[in-house]
């Protein structure tokens, strides 16, 4: 799902790789952990409400939306492909592809 390890390991020497393998063995299984995703998502709550549930006419609720749609929206914001955005393009550029996927996972998983 989320591939941060490939980018990390590319730059490591074989000796460091062994060490990294020990250090990251659990991280490799989890990649972006739930706690990590929850913390990334926490910043979104400040405009979209707790767990993305708060919405009104100017800022939409994002809780429980489709993972695919959320991810496509975030990626479009990041690439400046959403012409009428005001701030989301500036914010989405702060997150890696893996982080955007974790955010889409997080908000799509919110249920009542």
């Amino acid at each position: 799902m989320i591939n941060i390890m490939q980018n990390t390991t590319r730059y490591l020497t074989p000796g460091l790789l062994l060490l990294a393998g020990l250090v990251f063995s659990s991280a490799q299984a989890e990649e972006i952990s739930y706690d990590h995703a929850a913390m990334l998502a926490g910043s979104c709550f400040n405009c979209h409400g707790t767990d993305g549930r708060y919405g009104e006419d100017s800022i939409p609720s994002i809780a429980g939306n489709s993972r695919e749609v959320l991810l496509a929206q975030l990626q479009a914001f990041k690439r400046d492909e959403t012409p009428d955005t005001t701030v989301m393009n500036r914010i989405a550029k702060g997150y890696s592809e893996a982080e955007l996927k974790a955010l889409a996972d997080y908000f799509s998983s919110i249920r009542d």
């Binding site: 990590h36 910043s43 400040n46 005001t86 550029k93 702060g94």
Partner: protein, 435 residues
């Protein structure tokens, strides 16, 4: 009560909802211990403290969380400028602690914290009792440096308000604006960095100008600044010219804008090179420091602010004390309510992780500060932050200010977003709905 980290059923629901992750073993949601997992005391119930209390309970409901906050109704600094401009009531920026008490099970004590003993892990309260903590969160906000500007002490603030903490000072300034005759001069003295809410003085003169334009159109606004540059400067100056013509004059540090002396009785200020300005209404935004309880806890340094470990917001000086909000040294994050809330979530995660002896995930914060130039003219600055090379830094390519070359529709939408942001962050912090 909705909690999202402990329930097995929700874990399964989450893993099911996200499809492939279950097969990879990813997002194995950490189990938290039941029973009393520790006592966390939170001092201060503003954006930082109220958020910390809520998210400590969300991240681990078995924690015992006590919030110490003197007032039963907290008035935010954000949007007090809109009150000053006549756009909303003072009551509309007030929030209570009912959701924290009832929904999240936070023990809220309405008293002051008088002293903190970091070595013994105790907080002495205004009612004489003592609380013992495993971890402490301090969200003390700012205090005025009453000794930093000649002539500006607490008595002077009764005549020339700072209105930089929401409350009687804010209402006093509004009354003075209402009592002022048309043709008067509003003078605002803005401090050098760092201070609470970097764009605040510039939004304030905008809102005062809005009030003047509609009710006292012959009046003027003079902004005397101890800086040569300020937050969203180009956007503010464009907007001032477009909306208010030549009503607002900004005097930079280099043009003798720095106020060095205040005569509150005469509503007069004197600048560095001896020029005197007589005001009809005088608003002095003075130099600031971390709230005084931070000194008592021993977490401030010589600057008067609180250095913290970037990954967790634990004090760099005293173990087991976490400090969030305007009191901290967290640049390039601004001293904003948004940042205080974001920092509190990171600190809450750090505390829950440390009490459970589990690793802390990498910290992440964001900020968006909206400012209103007029009711339908909003501008913003945004940023996403992470720890890079041991320090807080803006993620490259992220953030920045609203574009300059856009039309009225863009400004109108940002003005609506400003209100949406305020309602959402207050929901996230106190659980209160828009007034």
């Amino acid at each position: 009560m909705k909690t999202f980290i402990t329930s097995r059923r929700e874990t399964l629901k989450l893993l099911g909802a996200t499809g492939t992750v279950a097969a990879l073993g990813a997002w194995s949601i950490p189990a938290r211990s039941n029973g009393n997992a520790g006592h966390v005391v939170v001092v201060g119930g503003g954006f930082g403290g109220a958020t910390a209390a809520k998210y400590l309970k969300r991240y681990n409901p078995s924690l015992n969380v006590t919030l110490v906050e003197p007032v039963e109704r907290f008035y935010t600094c954000p949007f007090t400028n809109l009150y000053l401009g006549g756009l909303r009531t003072f009551e509309s920026v007030g929030h209570d602690y009912e959701e924290l008490k009832r929904r999240y099970g936070v023990n809220v004590i309405h008293t002051t914290a008088q002293d903190i003993d970091g070595a013994n892990h105790t907080v002495r309260l205004g009612d004489g009792s003592t609380l013992r903590y495993d971890r402490l969160v301090l969200s003390p906000g700012v205090d005025i440096r009453w000794d930093a500007l000649a002539g500006y002490d607490e008595a002077a603030a009764g005549k020339a308000p700072h209105a930089w903490k929401a409350g009687d000072q804010t209402r006093l300034l509004r009354r003075q604006l209402e009592a002022m005759e048309d043709g008067g001069l509003f003078v605002l003295s803005a401090p050098d960095n760092p201070y609470r809410c970097p764009p605040g003085p510039y939004e304030r003169v905008s809102m005062v100008a809005h009030y003047f334009k509609n009710h006292k159109p012959r009046s003027k606004v003079l902004l005397l600044d101890s800086k040569d540059a300020f937050s969203k400067q180009g956007l503010f100056m464009d907007g001032w010219e477009q909306v208010y013509g030549n009503m607002i004059e900004w005097v930079s540090l280099s043009n003798d804008g720095r106020v060095v002396r205040v005569d509150a009785d005469r509503l007069e200020v004197e600048t560095e090179f001896g020029e005197r300005h007589q005001a009809s209404v005088l608003n002095v935004v003075p130099p600031q420091k971390a709230g005084w309880i931070a000194d008592r806890a021993g977490v401030t340094d010589q600057s008067g602010w609180v250095p913290v470990k970037p990954e967790t917001f634990e004090s760099a000086q005293v173990r087991d004390i976490y400090v969030v909000g305007d009191a901290t040294v967290a640049a390039p994050m601004p001293k904003s309510g948004f940042c205080a809330n974001a920092q509190a979530k990171v600190a809450a995660m750090a505390i829950v992780s440390s009490l459970a002896e589990r690793p802390m995930p990498p910290a992440s914060w964001a900020n968006t500060c909206y400012s209103l130039i007029a009711p339908d003219y909003g501008i913003s600055v945004a940023g996403v932050y992470s720890v890079q090379d041991g320090a807080i830094a803006e993620v490259e390519g992220s953030g920045g200010i609203s574009p300059r070359d856009v039309g009225a529709d863009f400004r109108r939408r940002e003005a609506r977003h400003a209100v949406g942001w305020y309602n959402a962050i207050c929901q996230d912090t106190w659980g209160t709905q828009p007034a």
